[in-house]
Symmetry: none
Subunit: 161 residues, 4 copies
C-alpha cells in the first residue's frame, strides 16, 4: 500500500539542541507562510527566546522534528496551559511546518500524532490548534485527524504598559 | 447620550471569594449556552477546581464580575499562557457571560475592557478568545472591540493515559 | 496596656505603585543589612524586575507596607510556590524590614500577621522564612510568632549556562 | 581509587511513570525519616497529587532516580520558584533519599549533581535545600557539595480558610 509505505519513512522525535541549524530555516519558512517576513519578520530576539524556552524545563513549551532518511524536514511546537473547563492542562499545537517539496508524504500527520501521544503522557485531554480558514491544503489533513466544530478566533493586540 | 448613560451603570471589579453564590448561576448559565447541561453538564469537580484556581496565587487564572446597581450580572474568566511568537505571555479570555435579560447594557463590553486593562498590567501584548461562528449576538460586540482575522480552531479530545 | 496602644498605631496595607519612592530606601536598607551594598550591591536591574513583578498578576510575588502616622516605615515581600508534601502552595516570606529607628513598635509583627492573613486567603497552609542565626533582634520576634524547628539551609550558587 | 570506582556504578536519570512502584517505598522511607509515618503519615492524597505533578508539564516540580545495577535506590524531588533578589528562578531541592543499606556509595552526591545540571539548563542560578541540624550523616555530604551560611528556617502552619 503506497500510503503506509510512504508513511513508514517518516521518523518523529523530540527536538534537541543539536537540531538548531536544521530547525531555523523551517521556522523561517513557517513564519513566511504566515506573512512574517521582510519588514514584518519576527524579531530575532523572539526566535532566540523561543529556542531557549524549548529546552528550559520550567517552560511548558516543547518541540519535535520529523526526519526522512535522517534529514529534518518538519517541525512542530506545542505548549500546555490551563483551561477553566478541565482539571488537566490542554495542549496547544501552535506551529506545524513541513518543507514544501516534501508535502504529501505524511510528515504533518506524523507530527500531529506525536503531539497526541505526548499530550496523553502529560495528562492533557485535549489538543487544539488554529489555522487560517483559507489554508486549504492544511485543512485537508486537519479534517482527517481532528475536528473544526465551528469555533473561530477573535484577537486584540494591546500596547505594552 | 443613551449609550454612555447606560454604560456608566456597569461596574467591573475583580471577583472575590464572597461572590461565589452570585457567580455559580452565571457559570451554569454560560455552560448551558454551550450545551454543557443535563447529561453533558460540566462535572461539579471541575467547577470546584476552577473556583479554587481563581483564588490560588500560583495559578494564572483570573476572574472579574460586572455589577449593575450592586448586583452581579456578568462574569469573565481569563488566563495567561506562553506563545512561541511572543516573548511576553498572551491572555486567553476563555469565558464571558451576561445574565440574558441584562444584555445590551454594555456589560460584555465592560468586562472585555477590564481584561484588556489587566492584560496590559500583566505585560501581555495580546488578548484573544474563541466563539462559535453562529454566536451572532456575541459577534456583533466582538467585531467592535477586536478582530476575527480568519483563524479557526481544530481540536481533538484524547483519552487520558 | 502599652503594647496594644503602641500596636494600634501601625497600619499594614498592600503595596501600590504609588509607594515606589517610600519603598526604595527601605529595600536598600534591607539589602545593606544583609551585606548587599557598595561593591556587592544588588544590581539595579534586579530591583527593577522585582518592582515590576510585585504588580504583575501572573507573578506570585506580593508586597505590603506598614505605616505609622501615614508614613511608610516597613516592608514585606512574600511569594508562593509548590511543595512536594502539600496540595496547596506554601508562602515564603522572603523580605521583612523596618526603619531602624522605629523598631520595637510592633511593625515587624504586624507585617508578619498580614502575610499570615493573606496566605490563608490564598489557600496556603504554611508561611516560612529564613533568617541568619545571628539575627538576635529579629529572632526575639520570630520566636513569638513562629517556630524554628531545627531546620537549616544549604545552598549552592551555580554558573549560568 | 575506591570512591570513584564505587561512584561509577551510580546512574541518575529523570524519573518516568514506569518508576512508580520503585519510587513509592523510597518516598515512604523518606517521610518516615522525618517522622511522617503511622498516625502522622502523609495523606495518600498528597502522594497522589505529588506523583501527578511530577509528570504534569505545567507544574515546575521534577524528579530523578538513582540506579545501581539497574535497580532504583534513590530519589530526588526539586522545584523552581521566584526569588525577590534574582531575575532567574531558584531551584529548591526539597526531597533527597537513598535506600539506607546503600548509603556511602555516592548516590546522594550523584542526585545532587544531577539537580545542579538541570537547574543550570533551566537558567536558575541557585540550588538550595533544608535539612535538620541534627542530620549528621546528610550534613557530612552537604558540607562537601554546598554551604550552610548560617541561615535557619522559621515556619508557621496556618489553618485553611
Amino acid at each position: 500500500m503506497t500510503t503506509s509505505a510512504t508513511h513508514s519513512l517518516v521518523n518523529v522525535r523530540a527536538m534537541t539542541q543539536q537540531d538548531h541549524d536544521a530547525w531555523l530555516p523551517l521556522w523561517k519558512g513557517y513564519n513566511a507562510f504566515y506573512g512574517r517576513e521582510g519588514a514584518t519578520a519576527l524579531p530575532d530576539e523572539v526566535t532566540r527566546v523561543l529556542w531557549s524556552r524549548l529546552f528550559n524545563p520550567i517552560e511548558p513549551v516543547f518541540a519535535a522534528v520529523a526526519e526522512i532518511d535522517g534529514r529534518v524536514v518538519g517541525l512542530v511546537h506545542y505548549l500546555y496551559h490551563r483551561s477553566t473547563t478541565r482539571i488537566e492542562p490542554v495542549c496547544y499545537l501552535q506551529d506545524l511546518f513541513t518543507e514544501p517539496k516534501l508535502r504529501g508524504k505524511g510528515v504533518g500527520r506524523a507530527l500531529i500524532h506525536h503531539v497526541y501521544e505526548q499530550a496523553q503522557l502529560a495528562g492533557a485531554s485535549r489538543v487544539y490548534w488554529q489555522t487560517h480558514t483559507a489554508n486549504t491544503a492544511g485543512r485537508t489533513l486537519y479534517d482527517k485527524v481532528a475536528s473544526h466544530l465551528g469555533f473561530i478566533v477573535y484577537s486584540k493586540d494591546i500596547e505594552p504598559n
